[in-house]
């Protein structure tokens, strides 16, 4: 409770500082916090808030879900079979340093302006880190546990199901969280270029259509809030009883 209070007062202090800086600083710095707040209400009232929010979440959901569905088997395959890693690992490592935003031109070229291009970019952005997390997680399963599994007569598939997946789960959750964060970062950028709806589009459009910087800041605040809620959602997974063991070391009695 006291921690929450402290966080809230810190936030309030920053808003006050923002307000004062705008009032006494250069007039073109930023809209006042109150103006940004009014802009959010305006967006809520005319239905644009819901429309853009749903558009962004829709793209993230599909891009992210597809990435999770594909990254899991690919990561497992690369982790379990060293030959697979040797064959495709370098390719993935080559793709990794390429910013997902660099794919935007190709995505538009292949898929046109629209949801499909945005979903594809989000997919690419979250697939790579997730697949690599899964692969590395498989590698880090202690050899002893694999040996026990084989000793108890498990076949390849049972070994994955009963030993590798549970051992991997804590790292998988971290990877899921990381990838969702990236997906949310990337959707905004993709919407600035590849579509004409969504929170990213809202920001560019507010500037282009008349320098409504109050709407720009409102859009940024909304993006931050939604990102926070998504992150808190994934973090709840860390509390699963099946994961207690992973966080048990050195952490007693919370």
């Amino acid at each position: 409770m006291r921690k929450l209070l402290l966080s809230l007062s810190g936030l309030a202090a920053l808003v006050v500082a923002w307000d004062l800086a705008v009032r006494f600083g250069p007039p073109t710095l930023l809209p006042l916090p109150a103006a940004a707040g009014r802009a959010i209400l305006e967006l809520a009232a005319n239905g644009l808030l819901l429309r853009h929010l749903v558009a962004s979440l829709y793209r993230v959901t599909w891009g992210y879900l597809l990435a999770v569905l594909l990254a899991l088997p690919v990561g497992l395959f690369l982790g379990v079979y060293p030959a697979g890693e040797r064959a495709f690992g370098p390719f993935l490592e080559l793709l990794r340093p390429i910013s997902p935003l660099a794919w935007i031109p190709l995505a538009i070229f292949w898929l046109g302006i629209g949801d499909l291009a945005a979903v594809a970019i989000i997919f690419l952005a979250s697939f790579l880190p997730l697949a690599l997390t899964v692969k590395n997680g498989v590698r880090r399963v202690p050899a002893v546990h694999l040996q026990v599994g084989r000793n108890f007569g498990l076949g390849e598939r049972e070994l994955v199901r009963k030993v590798i997946l549970p051992a991997l789960l804590p790292q998988l959750i971290v990877g899921l969280r990381l990838a969702l964060g990236i997906a949310w970062l990337v959707v905004v950028a993709a919407e600035m270029l590849a579509v004409n709806s969504g929170l990213g589009f809202l920001i560019v459009d507010a500037r282009n259509a008349g320098n409504r910087y109050d709407l720009v800041v409102a859009g940024m605040v909304l993006i931050g809030l939604v990102g926070l809620v998504l992150d808190l959602g994934v973090r709840r997974l860390e509390r699963l009883p099946a994961l207690r063991w992973a966080y048990a070391d050195g952490e007693t009695g919370k």
Partner: protein, 260 residues
């Protein structure tokens, strides 16, 4: 593979190692680890493999367990060559082998998926009791002490009803009191169930307390220096002349003076 005229169930030989040799390749060089190990073990016998750290005794156990192919020579159990791990012969590691994501009872039931639920529960209950873990069935390994984790691992192995147990320095990471308790319990279980046991250790006292025979290995590459019969009935009196003499003769064999 399938010879109908198999040897009688009570053959006097459970395990036979013939001229086992293992060589690892490291940076283009051949590093010999095991050098011509030959040994036979009778059914129900408790054999300790004793050697200094890093001599290759764990490698030996890994080869016998089917996790590692020997460079030369062979391992036979019940007259058949070992080609891989087998649930009839269970490895027990230091407590690292328990699965941290399963509770004690789930760990113990790990290999019993094929059994009907009732039977499985009954079997788990029986081995929980045998190793004295009542009251901790639902605990996760991180909530258990090192000794209790080791009990979980032993129970998990025993629940498979194996006819052989391979123990790789199972009590090495425990405090000396827990270690003594678990040795006594292992003997009690072995006297009840009579599995054939291969027990790797670097602890001379431990080997003389437990084994029917102690196989003393040399420094790497490991050869058998000597096989010592310990013909003292259990429970063994650790202050008896006989025990001390045997222990000292092994100490002498390894070349350690009788003083610290």
């Amino acid at each position: 593979m399938n010879s109908p005229g198999e040897t009688a169930p009570q053959a006097a030989e459970k395990l036979r190692l013939t001229d086992l040799t293992v060589t690892f390749e490291s940076e283009g060089k051949q590093v010999p680890v095991l050098d011509g190990i030959s040994l036979t073990v009778a059914p129900g016998e408790f054999v300790c493999i004793l050697g200094p750290s890093g001599c290759g005794k764990s490698t030996l156990l890994n080869v016998v367990g089917g996790f590692l192919r020997p460079t030369a020579g062979k391992v036979e159990i019940d007259g058949r060559e070992v080609t891989g791990p087998d649930p009839r012969r269970i490895f027990v590691f230091q407590e690292r082998g328990v699965f941290p994501w399963l509770t004690a009872e789930e760990n113990i039931g790990f290999g019993l998926d094929g059994l009907p639920r009732e039977e499985r529960r009954e079997r788990v209950r029986r081995y929980v009791e045998l190793v004295g873990l009542q009251g901790f069935e639902r605990a996760f390994p991180h909530e258990l002490s090192g000794g209790m984790k080791q009990r979980v691992e032993v129970a998990r192995a025993l629940a498979m009803n194996p006819d052989m147990l391979y123990l790789d320095e199972p009590f090495g990471a425990l405090d000396s009191i827990t270690r003594m308790t678990l040795r006594r319990e292992l003997l009690r279980i072995w006297e009840a169930e009579r599995q054939t046991i291969l027990f790797v250790t670097h602890d001379i006292e431990e080997s003389v307390q437990l084994a029917d025979r102690v196989v003393v290995l040399s420094q790497r590459p490991a050869r058998i220096r000597r096989v010592v019969e310990v013909a003292i009935p259990h429970p063994r009196d650790l202050s008896s002349r006989q025990y001390l003499d045997l222990r000292d003769s092994i100490l002498a064999e390894i070349g350690l003076a009788h003083q610290v």
